[in-house]
Amino acid sequence: MIERTPILNMVTYFIMIFGLLLILGPFWMIFTASTQSLAQVNAVPFNLLPGTDFVHNLQAAWHRANLGPAMLNSLIMALLVMVGKIVLASISAFAIVYFRSPLRHVFFWLVFMTLMLPLEVRVVPTYNIAADVFEPVRWLIQTLTGIELSLQWNLLNSYSGLVLPVIATATGTFLYRQFYMTLPDELTEAAKMDGARPLRFFIDILLPLSRTNMLALATIMFVYAWNQYLWPKLMTTEADYQTAMVAMTTLVPNINSLPEWNVSMAGALIIMLPPLIIVAALQRWFVRGLVSTEK
């Protein structure tokens, strides 16, 4: 629809620019704060112009929070979570869409219901399981047979602990299910006639076709995993497994320390960088995967 309405156009632009400022404003404040010295950042009123201490603040943040290893830990965790979520989502949606099991709707709705149970809600039981993975198995075997086993597997302070409990994803499963449902049945039938068994069909046909979908999911899930705070905080007590988000807390000033907000903001900028790069690199796919499916 093309309309010539100068006044309406101006109003539209005004609203859009206002929205943009609302979103960008805080970022600008983070940036300027990270460039100022301790005295400047605590001045009232706050100075919106950049200062000269940017590099110094970045270095201070990097060393004080030990961001090098922490960023690496975060990267490993986020990539593993991302891959895990994609693998799990694509496979479970495959099972739900392509297998005529009588219980598939039940399973789908069970998965769907977990949308209502985010990690924060189930954090205590999830922690229990992570701290003692075989507890339910031991209990089951003991109740059934009376045999007491001493199986132990503890996920605390490990990458599996950071990753495994959070890779189940209702969003991803749902996204994949919608994608599979847009594919024509004849594609499946053609593959059947060509002799492909289900797994072969999944690997040769479905996965390559879901590329845009997969990249969209990868973007969302990487950012999600990178931004995790609560779970890594619970799971890791050793500095070796500390993630960037957790490390960031050491930069936040407390009652007994100097109000070095310039350093915390510099740290925030560093930590923000990897998700920004991922989104920038994948945004074309991200939008395409969410908006439409490739033919």
């Binding site: 594609l187 059947k192 006639m193 060509d194 002799g195 390559p208 076709l209």
Partner: protein, 373 residues
Amino acid sequence: MAEINIRNVRKSYGRTQILHGVDLDFKSGEFVVILGPSGCGKSTLLRMIAGLEEISAGEISIDGTVVNNLEPRDRGCSMVFQNYALYPHMNVAANIGYALKVAGVPRAERDRRISETARVVGLEEMLDRKPAQLSGGQRQRVAMGRAIIREPKVFLFDEPLSNLDAKLRVQMRVEIRRLHKRLSATSVFVTHDQVEAMTLADKLIVMNKGHVEQVGTPLEIYHRPRTRFVGTFIGSPAMNFFDSTIAPSGKFVLLDGIQIAIDPVLGRDNADNAVSAGIRPEHCRLVKAGTANSVPATVDFVEELGSGRNVHVDIDGTIFAVSGDESQLFETGATVGLQLPSEHIHLFSRDTGLRLDDAPALKHNTNQSTVAA
């Protein structure tokens, strides 16, 4: 090359029956066309042969082996789908060769067979393209290449030409026929297009509402439709029908009060029967009004075809289509005479819809039931 035998095959979804006991035998190397209106169960039958649809009751065997419980890959059939169903992310070569890749055929042999197949279907120049970069006819060729590379015992075609434009359709029809001659595998082709059916078939099967109406060569079916339905379904314009009763003498039926002579032997055996009499448009003759043995009719409208014209005339509310030749000109609204030659009149029972003199078709039926028993 393989025989296909279909024994009392039924299909139902819950309580709805789609196929009500179908018995058919396809000879090895035959080109069989299944023709019928949409919803008659023809595609379902084809998909049951392919193994894509479960068989509710009865038995299908290919080359003597009952295939009811075999997976599609073990039946030795390949199929061409209506919308081609090409793999969008693979190029033409990969599409054609996918079955071989799945079967674990070594690369060198696979490439050799792909280029050989591409030559047969005329796609040598296109092997690197993706399906999205191909025209409808080329996609159709890829689908056929994919079907023939496996050297199957049976080819199944599920309305493969219905997405093509008229010109391409004629061309692909010829190509399919040529391909069949060359490969001589048993082929089953499902369509709702009677021209496709007539031109392609060695054996034509007409289906309606889950029943087989008639089996025969295209000419047999055209000239001796076994039921009223087959008569109406095949031929364009469709066969003209009027309801009447055979006179006690058995010599004629009445149309608008005028006696139309019929085969006297047939008439004598069926005297006083309520019948539906049919005659094809090309067998009707238009004459001057008042000519002896003609029924007065009003010209309703005229369709010009170039090579001739279809004249639609009205007799007391019943419309008759007549294939006129170009020498005769008729004005809309003019009164003419319509002659219906007795040797071209088909008589069907009004109760059962069956042809009255259905000797050959009846024999066919009894044959089948003895085999089935």
